[in-house]
Amino acid sequence: MNNLKEKLSKLASDQPSEWKEKAQYRRENREWLKKSAAIAVRVLDALKTQNLSQKDLAERMNISPQQISKIVKGQENLTLETISNLEDALGIQILDETSALNRATSKRKQQAARLNLPLARKGPMKTM
């Protein structure tokens, strides 16, 4: 073991990084996670516009504030029922009026289909 690695290892935490597992999960669930994030942004926008708190929304939907907190993080695999309830509680359309995120996803899918390319990106990241 070389000197630098030895010195770094002595300073390292016993707790390993969880990044790789999380990154793998995000790669495998990318398309629906983007849709979940798009819905979260629409909900957050509606809350701000209507001057409502997440607690207010939880009460309107008769669910816990913790559940709303999860929804607005954009990482929940939402059911159609939950989406429909969000629409009713906030008086907005989520499913019909697709967001920029969904449009972006669709555009990528269309391009990939036209070119017969995989959706996952490969190749080195450009830096400056």
């Binding site: 630098l4 690695k5 990044w19 798009a38 957050l44 990482q75 920029a100 830096t127 400056m128």
Partner: protein, 179 residues
């Protein structure tokens, strides 16, 4: 980390924080609520036109795309064990200062996406070994915003921490403009 060499990516973990700054950064830039609040609070910079006038919804979408690209690249580097000739971290990280062309030991560095605003900040320990100190969304050309100043402080703290723990190299002659 590669198993049999010093190649790889390390990250700092601040006292009292449950995760490293690298883990924290990628968790945050993948979280819709955090991104929405960030762009809401930095609306003036977002609308100032450096990246073109865009909505918060679009800004969140762009950030998720950039995070995906950055994370995918690092994931692939990690899968290849950082040892492949094409996965040298020095290809990703560049000196923090845009006008600094020499690569040096313990150099403050950044990784970014082309035409993007995501930054990963790190200290260069060796050609293929970097210590990540944090990351940020950089909407301005300068580093004056509080969240970017915090990143500069962490870079400096990390550098001092390394020196205090015997990881020191001859000081390079570059002057940092911290851009």
């Amino acid at each position: 980390m590669a198993e049999d060499s010093e190649d790889g990516l390390w990250a700092i973990q601040l006292d009292g924080h449950p995760q490293s700054e690298f883990d924290r950064f990628f968790n945050l830039v993948n979280e819709a609520e955090w991104l929405y609040n960030f762009f809401d609070q930095n609306r003036a910079d977002l609308h100032r036109g450096f990246f073109g006038k865009i909505s918060i919804e679009d800004a969140v979408s762009r950030t998720l795309e950039q995070a995906e690209e950055m994370e995918d690249t690092l994931y692939e580097y990690s899968e290849l064990g950082f040892g492949d000739g094409n996965t040298n971290l020095q290809h990703l990280f560049k000196p923090l200062n845009n006008f600094e062309y020499a690569i040096a030991s313990l150099q403050k560095s950044k990784a970014r996406i082309r035409k993007g605003w995501l930054r990963l900040y790190a200290i260069r320990l060796a050609e293929n070994c970097y210590l990540v100190t944090g990351g940020a969304i950089k909407l301005t050309q300068h580093m004056k915003r509080a969240h970017l100043q915090d990143e500069l402080k962490k870079l400096e703290l990390a550098k001092q921490f390394l020196r205090d723990n015997g990881i020191d190299f001859p000081e390079d002659l570059n002057s940092y403009r911290d851009e």
